[in-house]
C-alpha cells in the first residue's frame, strides 16, 4: 500500500463526490481549452496573410484594430523600398469577401503583375493578368479546385464578373485558397486609390533582418514591422484584445473552479476529521496528511482535465459545424492550449485543496479524534 493506492481507494469510496469534483475540473478545463484553441485558430487565420509573401518581414500601419485595416500610401511604399538593406518591397492590398456560404472569408489580394515573382507566386496555368485589366483574375489552385473553376471560366468577385486568366500557386495553402487581382482594380473597388495594406520586404544579402527592421521602425514611427506570428499584435489590436480576453477567462475559470473544488473538499474533509485524527495519532505527520489530501485532489484533476480536453474537442467540432461559424472558426489544437488546460486543472486542484488540507492537518489529534 502506498500513498497513491490509498488516495485512489479513498476516491473510489466516495464515487459521487469524486465524480462531482472531476466534473467541475472538466468544465473549467473545457472552457479554457476551447477558448484557447478557438482564439489561436482566429489568430493563425489572421496572421496567415503574413505567411504568403515569403518575405523576411512585413510592414504594416501601427496600431490598427485589424491588420486588414492597415493602410500605406505610394509614398510610404517607396520609402520602405529606399530604406537601407531592403532588396525588394512589394505592396499588396488584402481583403476578404463573402463569395458564398462555404467561403464567408474568401481572401483577395491585389498585387502588380510585375511583383508576382518577388512575392513567390508562380503561374501554373494560363497567364498572369494585365497590370490595368479591369475584369481579370487569377485563382489559387486550391480555390480553383474547390470552386470547380478553370482558365477561361467566369468568377464573380470584387464587384464585377471577372475572367479567370490564370491559376497560381504560392506553396502556402492560405494563399492558394484565394484569388489575385490587378492592384488598381482592387484599389478602385475599395475606393482606396494608391493604398496598399501591407508591404512584404526581402532583405538584401549581407544585411541583418533585425537591423533593417529596427532602422525602418525608427525612421518611420507610424509603421511597424512584423517577422513572426507572435509579433502580430503590434499591427493587430484585435489580437491583443483577444489574447487578453482568453487570459482573463482562464484566470476566472481557474478561480471559480478552485472555489468549487475547495468547497466540496472542505465538506468532505470535515467528515473525515476523525480519520485524520486517527492517522495523526498513529504517527502520521501533518505533511503526510496534506500530501494525501492534495494527491487525492490532483488525481481528480488529472481525470477531470482529460475529460475536459475530450469535451473541448467535441465542443469545438460542434461549433465549427454550426452554419453561422462554418469557415470562420478554425480551431487549432496546440500543445500550448492543452498545457493551458492542464495548468488550469492542476491549479484548481492545488488551490482548492491546499487550504482544506492544511486545516485538516492542523487540528491536534485529540481534537480531531473527539470530533463527532
Amino acid at each position: 500500500m502506498t500513498l497513491f493506492t490509498l488516495a485512489v481507494g479513498n476516491l473510489r469510496a466516495k464515487k459521487a463526490r469524486s465524480a462531482g469534483i472531476a466534473f467541475a475540473v472538466a468544465l473549467a478545463v473545457m472552457t479554457v481549452v476551447t477558448l484557447s484553441v478557438v482564439s489561436s485558430g482566429l489568430e493563425q487565420a489572421a496572421a496567415a496573410v503574413l505567411t504568403i509573401g515569403k518575405a523576411d518581414f512585413t510592414v504594416a500601419q501601427k496600431g490598427v484594430s485589424d491588420i486588414i485595416y492597415s493602410s500605406l500610401d505610394d509614398r510610404q511604399v517607396a520609402a520602405v523600398q529606399e530604406s537601407p538593406g531592403v532588396e525588394s518591397a512589394v505592396g499588396v492590398l488584402v481583403e476578404t469577401e463573402r463569395i458564398d456560404a462555404a467561403n464567408p472569408l474568401f481572401i483577395e489580394i491585389g498585387i502588380q503583375p510585375g511583383d508576382l515573382s518577388a512575392f513567390g507566386v508562380s503561374v501554373i496555368a494560363g497567364r498572369a493578368y494585365g497590370a490595368d485589366a479591369a475584369d481579370e483574375v487569377m485563382l489559387g489552385w486550391q480555390a480553383a479546385r474547390d470552386l470547380g473553376l478553370h482558365v477561361g471560366d467566369r468568377f464573380r468577385a470584387n464587384g464585377t464578373t471577372n475572367t479567370v486568366v490564370g491559376i497560381y500557386s504560392t506553396g502556402i495553402s492560405y494563399g492558394d485558397l484565394g484569388a489575385m487581382f490587378p492592384l488598381p482594380a482592387i484599389q478602385a473597388y475599395n475606393r482606396v486609390p494608391g493604398s496598399v495594406t501591407l508591404v512584404f520586404v526581402k532583405v538584401a544579402s549581407g544585411y541583418s533582418v533585425v537591423k533593417v527592421q529596427a532602422a525602418l521602425e525608427s525612421a518611420h514611427p507610424e509603421l511597424t514591422t512584423i517577422r513572426t506570428a507572435s509579433e502580430f499584435g503590434r499591427a493587430d489590436r484585435n489580437i491583443v484584445f483577444l489574447r487578453a480576453a482568453v487570459t482573463g477567462s482562464t484566470i476566472l475559470a481557474l478561480l471559480i473552479g478552485a472555489i468549487i473544488v475547495g468547497n466540496t473538499m472542505l465538506l468532505s474533509l470535515f467528515e473525515r476529521t476523525r480519520e485524520f485524527g486517527l492517522l495523526r495519532a498513529i504517527g502520521w505527520s501533518r505533511g503526510r496528511v496534506v500530501t494525501l489530501v492534495v494527491s487525492e485532489s490532483l488525481l481528480l484533476a488529472v481525470l477531470g482535465s482529460s475529460l475536459g480536453v475530450a469535451l473541448s474537442y467535441l465542443v469545438t467540432f460542434a461549433l465549427e459545424s454550426l452554419p453561422q461559424l462554418h469557415g470562420v472558426l478554425h480551431a487549432s489544437f496546440s500543445e500550448g492550449a492543452l498545457l493551458r488546460g492542464l495548468v488550469v486543472g492542476m491549479g484548481m486542484a492545488v488551490l482548492g485543496s491546499l487550504y482544506p488540507a492544511i486545516r485538516a492537518a492542523s487540528l491536534t489529534p485529540v481534537k480531531a479524534l473527539s470530533h463527532e
Binding site: M1, R274, R280, I282, S285, R288, V366
Partner: protein, 228 residues
C-alpha cells in the same frame, strides 16, 4: 501512593501534571504524579470524568500539559521536537471505539501505521501479516473492519499499535464494548506482550475485573492519582 518499582530508569515518570479545559473552568488533571517501570502492566481506573483519557492522551503526546513534567522513555514530552515521530516509534495506541478505518482491509489498517517509518516499503505488508498472526487474526487479513466482531477489531488495533515495535502500549478502555470472552482474549494478548517482548502496558478501564489482570492498579479521582 505506591513506591516506584526499583528499576533504574522508569518507562513513564510524570510530576505535578496539570491539564485544564474550557479556559480553566475544567481541571481535567490536577497535579498527577505517576511512575511506571519498564515491562510493567498497570491499569488506570476511576469514575467517569476523572481524567483517565486526558492522562493517556498526554502520555501519547496527542496533547501537551499546561504545567508539570512528563518523561516517557528518554523523551521529555514537554520539550518534544517531533511529536509525530514519537507517536510513530515510542508508543502504540489502542482506543475504545472507532479505532480502524472501515474502508481499508485489516492488513492495510495495520500497514498504514508503518507509512513514514524506517521499515523498508517491501517489508511492511509481510510485517503486518505477522503481527496479525500474533493476535490470532492471520486468516482475516483481507476482511474489512465492519466484517469483524468487536473483540477482533480491538485485536487488529493492538496489532497496529505494535506495528513499529514501540516499548510502550497505551490502551484506553480497549475492552469497554466487549463481551467477557473477548475481554479475556485481549487481556491475554497484553499479558503475552509483556512476557514475550517486555512491552510496558498502560490500560485505562473502569472495569474492576479487567484491572485485576494488571500488576498494579493506579486509581484516579478528580484529576489526581490517589493512594491505593
Amino acid at each position: 501512593m505506591n513506591e516506584p518499582p526499583a528499576h533504574p530508569t522508569p518507562m513513564i515518570e510524570t510530576h505535578d501534571v496539570v491539564k485544564v479545559y474550557a479556559d480553566g473552568k475544567v481541571r481535567a488533571l490536577d497535579g498527577v504524579d505517576l511512575t511506571v517501570g519498564p515491562g510493567e502492566f498497570v491499569a488506570v481506573t476511576g469514575p467517569s470524568g476523572c481524567g483517565k483519557s486526558t492522562l493517556l492522551g498526554l502520555l501519547a503526546a496527542l496533547d501537551t500539559p499546561d504545567s508539570g513534567t512528563i518523561r516517557v522513555g528518554s523523551h521529555d514530552l514537554v520539550r518534544l521536537q517531533d511529536s509525530d515521530r514519537f507517536r510513530r516509534q515510542a508508543v502504540g495506541l489502542v482506543f475504545q471505539l472507532h479505532n480502524l478505518l472501515p474502508r481499508l482491509t485489516v492488513l492495510e489498517n495495520v500497514e498504514i501505521a508503518m507509512m513514514g517509518s524506517d521499515r523498508p516499503r517491501g517489508d511492511r505488508a509481510g510485517h503486518a501479516a505477522r503481527l496479525l498472526e500474533g493476535v490470532g487474526l492471520g486468516a482475516m487479513a483481507d476482511r474489512r473492519p465492519p466484517q469483524l466482531s468487536g473483540g477482533e477489531r480491538q485485536r487488529v488495533a493492538v496489532a497496529r499499535a505494535l506495528a513499529n515495535d514501540p516499548p510502550l502500549l497505551l490502551a484506553d478502555e480497549p475492552t469497554g464494548s466487549l463481551d467477557s470472552r473477548s475481554v479475556a482474549t485481549v487481556l491475554a494478548l497484553f499479558e503475552g506482550l509483556r512476557a514475550d517482548r517486555g512491552v510496558t502496558v498502560v490500560l485505562v478501564t473502569h472495569d474492576g475485573d479487567v484491572a485485576a489482570a494488571a500488576d498494579r492498579i493506579i486509581p484516579m479521582l478528580d484529576g489526581r492519582v490517589v493512594g491505593a
